[in-house]
Structure formats: structure tokens, C-alpha cells
């Protein structure tokens, strides 16, 4: 056996181990969701049951948490996508001297620990509310409002990065042409910029919703007396482990895998379409060249 073969075997072995580490815990958890003992256990496997799946949907607090997470996720999409778009547009227009400062400020929430974003949001709105003597049922103390804001602080930055990537390929002459032809700025925005950015709007909305749905660190501080799926889950898991949480995990894994695959396929298709467009454009310019060349050749 040559050194090359030994090396290749070792690399293969390592890759298998790595993916075992990655998927092993998820597989064990999924198996325990179908096993009968009341303590989640994958081994020994006693009998197949779907009891834990039924139990999840009979659990009012859990279902309430899921609904709250959905509402907050929708709220975050409505706040973070427009802010991210505005942030990206300002980034393309801001004076080069100010750009590094602006970039540092708006990207800093991505790197700030989520706990700190939650705390600062909570403290800021609480003090503002106290200062103007707001009611306790006003927005300043509302768990929903604070959670949407706290999460949007960093999720807007994610959205902005998605928009910036797309804007790099935007041809500003289209806007100028429309303006010269008498379109208003709002029309240019609606008819040229937004359609061009549509894929970025879609993917940033998906990203924002998923990031909001699985957020825990920021939410824990801002949510106060309400509960979301993640805070309910964490409370349950800390109290003790039950197989119905494993069942919920199986559902979430199933949904996310389906979603991730759909998202990947959409992205691939988009990339393929763009490649095709570029090919057509290239072929068109090559045709142009071919069309003109005989004349040049004759002249030469």
C-alpha cells in the first residue's frame, strides 16, 4: 500500500467521523422521538410510537409560543427588510470618507453578543418610557415591540449585506435613462430598483424570518412576560428532558430541511438564469463583432 493510499484512507476516515459528529446527535434525537420510554432514549429502542407528536400539539403553552414566534418573525421581516434596503442604498451613496465609520456602526450588531443587544434595547426603551411617564401597557414596555426591535438591530445588518451584494451588479445608467425620459424618483424606485432587487428582497425576507424564529439570546431579555417558541423550549429543556421536545425537533428539522432545499434550488435556478442571461449577452456582442469583422477585413 503506497503512502498516497494510506493518506487518502485517513482523509476519508476523518470526513466520515466529521459528518458523524455533525449528524449523530440529530439522528439520535430523532430516533428518541419515536421511542416509547418517557425519558428520551435512542438505545435500547423499545417500540415505535407517535404519541409524542400528538402531545406537542396538545400543549397550549408550546403552541402559543410557536404562534408568538410567527408573529414576531413577520414583524421582524417588515422592519428589517426595509431598513436593510435603506442601509444598503445609503452605503452606495455615502461619501467615501464617511463610509468606513458608517460600515463599522451598521455591521457592529452582527458581531455584538445577542445578550447585549437584548439588554441595551430593554434598558433604552424602559428609561425612555419612564422619562416621558408612559403607561405600562404602552409600546415602551411591550414584549412584542421590544423583541421585534431588538432582533431587527442585527437582522437588518444581515439584510443589508444581502442587498449590498446584489447592488454591486446594479447598472445605474438604467435609473438615469428613466429619469431623463421623465419618470419620477418614486417611479424609478418602484419600476427599476425594486424589480432588480426582487431576488434579494425574497432571500433577505427568508433569512430575516428564520433568524428571528430561532433567536434566543436577544429575545430572552426583551420578551419579558410573553413567551416565544425558543424561550418555552429552553425552559422545558432546562427543567428536564421529555421525548415530546425531540418530536418537535423532528418536525422542525423536517421543515427546515425542506425549506433549506427549496431555498438552495431557488438560488441555483436564479444563478443559472443569470448565467444564461450573461451568455446571451456575450453571444450578442460576439455576433456584433462577427457582423462587423468582414468589413474591417476588407478594409485591411
Amino acid at each position: 500500500m503506497s503512502a498516497q493510499t494510506i493518506l487518502r484512507t485517513m482523509v476519508g476516515f476523518y470526513i466520515v467521523l466529521f459528518f458523524l459528529f455533525l449528524f449523530g446527535p440529530l439522528i439520535i434525537m430523532s430516533v428518541s422521538a419515536f421511542n416509547t420510554p418517557t425519558f428520551p432514549q435512542a438505545y435500547p429502542f423499545e417500540a415505535v410510537t407517535f404519541r409524542w407528536f400528538g402531545q406537542i400539539f396538545a400543549d397550549g403553552i408550546m403552541v402559543g409560543g410557536i404562534l408568538n414566534s410567527l408573529y414576531i418573525g413577520i414583524g421582524v421581516v417588515c422592519v428589517a427588510v426595509p431598513i436593510g434596503l435603506a442601509g444598503a442604498l445609503v452605503m452606495t451613496q455615502i461619501a467615501p470618507r464617511l463610509r468606513p465609520i458608517y460600515y463599522t456602526i451598521v455591521v457592529s450588531p452582527v458581531l455584538t453578543p445577542g445578550v447585549i443587544l437584548g439588554i441595551s434595547t430593554l434598558v433604552f426603551w424602559d428609561r425612555l418610557g419612564t422619562a416621558i411617564g408612559a403607561d405600562y401597557d404602552s409600546l415602551f414596555y411591550s414584549g412584542f415591540f421590544l423583541t421585534v426591535l431588538g432582533q431587527s438591530t442585527f437582522i437588518s445588518a444581515y439584510c443589508m449585506l444581502v442587498f449590498l451584494a446584489r447592488l454591486q451588479r446594479f447598472d445605474r445608467t438604467q435609473e438615469e435613462a428613466a429619469l431623463d425620459l421623465g419618470a419620477s424618483h418614486v417611479q424609478v424606485f418602484r419600476k427599476i430598483l425594486v424589480p432588480f432587487l426582487r431576488p434579494a428582497i425574497l432571500s433577505s425576507a427568508v433569512l430575516a424570518f428564520l433568524a428571528s424564529f430561532e433567536n434566543y439570546n436577544t429575545t430572552l431579555f426583551t420578551i419579558q412576560s410573553e413567551a416565544t417558541l425558543t424561550t418555552v423550549l429552553a425552559g422545558r429543556v432546562r427543567m428536564g428532558t421529555q421525548p415530546d421536545i425531540a418530536a418537535l425537533a423532528v418536525i422542525i428539522i423536517g421543515v427546515t430541511i425542506a425549506g433549506a432545499i427549496a431555498y438552495e434550488i431557488a438560488k441555483r435556478r436564479e444563478a443559472a438564469r443569470e448565467r444564461a442571461d450573461r451568455d446571451i449577452a456575450r453571444r450578442a456582442t460576439t455576433d456584433d463583432l462577427v457582423w462587423h469583422r468582414p468589413a474591417e477585413a476588407k478594409a485591411g
Binding site: 432514549q41 445609503v90 450588531p109 422619562a131 416621558i132 425558543t230 425537533a249
Partner: protein, 335 residues
């Protein structure tokens, strides 16, 4: 005090709006200003959205948190009264503990802080060692279909909630969990003495490394993928051993990715809350848990803010030193 609370944001907002409105695009002297370029409606949308984000969501909350951390913990009626003054006592508490305690330092909290930082560095290092070979393999060695398949396989666990991942580790590492059952079944452990992996923090470190593996793989993959494979071939043809190819060719090229992955993993590990809550032993704490307890068990928001600020500053120091060490800038890290 309430007036300053309101005047400050208003002034900043106005200043920010003016700065944008009055500014001319550099390079084009006398070119169109911000409003002419975007139209009044769109310009207003941009200023309001970005102004709200930068001021009311990012800058002011952080400033208020820092200001709050220098205040006394007062009940509502006493706020704004003579006792509402700035003080260092919350920071003093982190260092020296309650006044009149018999210990010179607040060892309990300081130890938790040190453990959080050291353990996060170790988790980061471990994840780097774990991910580098995989990222290199997928980016440079694997071809076409298999590379794409491996990449999709990496993505799937990334979309599973952090709490559920920690829960999975609890099923494995619990006293009657899978690992103990298997070890007892194989006769390695006596049936009456399972190992308490949770108490020993083994589950915590495994869970943290697992949770952030992917934040390390993706930046590394992106960086290594952009390296021209011919450079590796050239180094090999010139007789360089495999470790020197990595040390002198691949790693220098992947430096922004390495910095990005390390910063992300460190920040996420140091700021983790769910994983330590679920997988930490009963007697061991993570610094974020201490912060949480100050807020919701001790009802001492100023002290909690002070602790949060200490965590933030140490994170910033880590990011800055990583950027200095790898000679990269923020744009390379946050992508």
C-alpha cells in the same frame, strides 16, 4: 434629567439628517446632492429608516446601557432624585464583591468570567482544527458533485435551532443517556456508576464546539476555495512537503477566512446563553448566565448592564487583536 433624555436623541437625529442632506458626493464637485439624486420621498425614506436604525436601535441603546451601568439601583420614585448620581460601584462589585465581605476579590464572578473567556478561546481553537481539513477538502480536493453534496450536508445542521442541538447533546450525555447506556452495556463502566458528563462540563464544551462548527467551516471554505489550485500544484512540484504547502501557501491565502471564522466562533461562544443553560452542570456558570441572573433574579439592572458592558469590551478587544494579528479589516470579517 428627563429633558436630557429626550433632547439628546432629537439633536442627534437632526444632526444625522443634516449631515446626509448637506453632503455632496465626493469626486463630483457640484454634483447632485442627496435629495436631488433620490427625490424627496425616497430621500426621506432613506434618512428615516437609516436614522432610526443607527440611532434608536444601535447607538443610543448602547450608550444608555453604558450610562445605566454607572448608576445606582434605585426604585422608580427615587430616580432623578439626589441619589441618582453616577457611581463606579457596579464595576467595583464585579472586582471586589459586596462591601465588607471577607474575600479580597469577587472570586465567584471573576472566575466565571475567566472561565468563559478561556473556554471560548479553546472552543474556537478546537473548531479551527476540526474544520480546516474539511474546508480544505471540500474546497480544493473534492470535485464537482461530491463537493456540492458535502456542502449541502454542512448546511442542514446549520438550520437547526441552537436549543434543539443542545437538547440532542443532553440525550447523549445525560446520566441515563445514550453514551452511558452504551458504555455500561459494553462493560466499560459498572452499571451503578454512570459518568455525570454534565457536571464535568464535557457536554458543555462538546455542545459549544458543535453549535458553532459551521460558523468556522463556511468562512474557511470561502477563503480556501478562491485559492488557485495551480499554486498548490506548483508548491508540490517544487518539492514542498504537505505541511509546508498549508503553512506557506494555503493558510496565508485563507487568512481573512481564518480571522472571520475565529472571531465569529469566539463571539458566539462567549455570548452563548442557551447552550450553557442547558448543558452546564448545576454548579458551573457562564458569564452570560451571571448577567441574566443580575437582571431577572437579583433585579439589579445597573449591575447587569455593567457586567454586559464588561463582556462587550472584552469581545471588542478580542476582535481588534484578531484583526491586528491576522492583518485584516472589518469588511473581511463580516460578510
Amino acid at each position: 434629567m428627563s429633558e436630557t433624555l429626550l433632547v439628546l436623541p432629537a439633536l442627534l437625529l437632526a444632526g444625522f439628517g443634516l449631515a446626509i442632506l448637506l453632503r455632496r458626493p465626493a469626486g463630483a464637485v457640484g454634483g447632485p446632492g442627496f435629495v436631488e439624486r433620490n427625490g424627496a420621498v425616497i430621500a426621506a425614506y432613506l434618512v428615516v429608516a437609516v436614522g432610526f436604525w443607527v440611532l434608536l436601535m444601535i447607538v443610543l441603546p448602547q450608550l444608555y446601557m453604558v450610562d445605566f451601568s454607572f448608576r445606582n439601583n434605585l426604585p422608580l420614585p427615587k430616580q432623578g432624585g439626589p441619589e441618582d448620581v453616577h457611581t463606579l460601584k457596579n464595576y467595583r462589585y464585579l472586582l471586589f464583591g459586596p462591601e465588607g465581605s471577607d474575600q479580597a476579590f469577587n472570586w465567584l464572578h471573576l472566575k466565571v468570567f475567566a472561565k468563559t473567556i478561556v473556554a471560548s478561546v479553546l472552543v474556537t481553537f478546537f473548531d479551527f482544527c476540526l474544520c480546516y481539513p474539511i474546508a480544505y477538502y471540500i474546497a480544493q480536493v473534492a470535485r464537482g458533485g461530491s463537493s456540492r453534496l458535502l456542502f449541502v450536508c454542512l448546511l442542514i445542521p446549520f438550520w437547526v435551532n441552537e436549543i434543539l442541538r443542545a437538547f440532542a447533546f443532553r440525550i447523549i450525555f445525560g446520566t441515563s443517556g445514550v453514551l452511558n447506556t452504551v458504555l455500561i452495556g459494553m462493560g466499560i463502566l459498572p452499571p451503578d456508576a454512570p459518568i455525570d458528563f454534565l457536571r464535568a462540563d464535557v457536554a458543555l464544551y462538546a455542545g459549544l464546539s458543535y453549535a458553532y462548527v459551521l460558523m468556522m467551516v463556511f468562512p474557511l471554505y470561502n477563503a480556501i476555495e478562491s485559492l488557485d489550485h495551480n499554486q498548490i500544484e506548483a508548491a508540490r512540484d517544487l518539492g514542498s512537503p504537505w505541511w509546508r504547502i498549508h503553512w506557506r501557501v494555503v493558510m496565508p491565502h485563507a487568512k481573512p477566512g481564518i480571522a472571520s471564522g475565529c472571531v465569529m466562533v469566539f463571539m458566539l461562544a462567549a455570548g452563548a446563553l442557551a447552550t450553557p443553560q442547558i448543558l452546564g452542570g448545576p454548579s458551573s456558570l457562564w458569564f452570560t448566565q451571571v448577567i441574566y441572573d443580575q437582571f431577572f433574579q437579583g433585579a439589579n439592572w445597573p449591575r447587569g448592564s455593567a457586567y454586559a458592558f464588561v463582556l462587550l469590551v472584552s469581545s471588542i478587544i478580542f476582535v481588534m487583536s484578531a484583526m491586528r494579528l491576522f492583518k485584516v479589516n472589518l469588511g473581511d470579517i463580516a460578510r
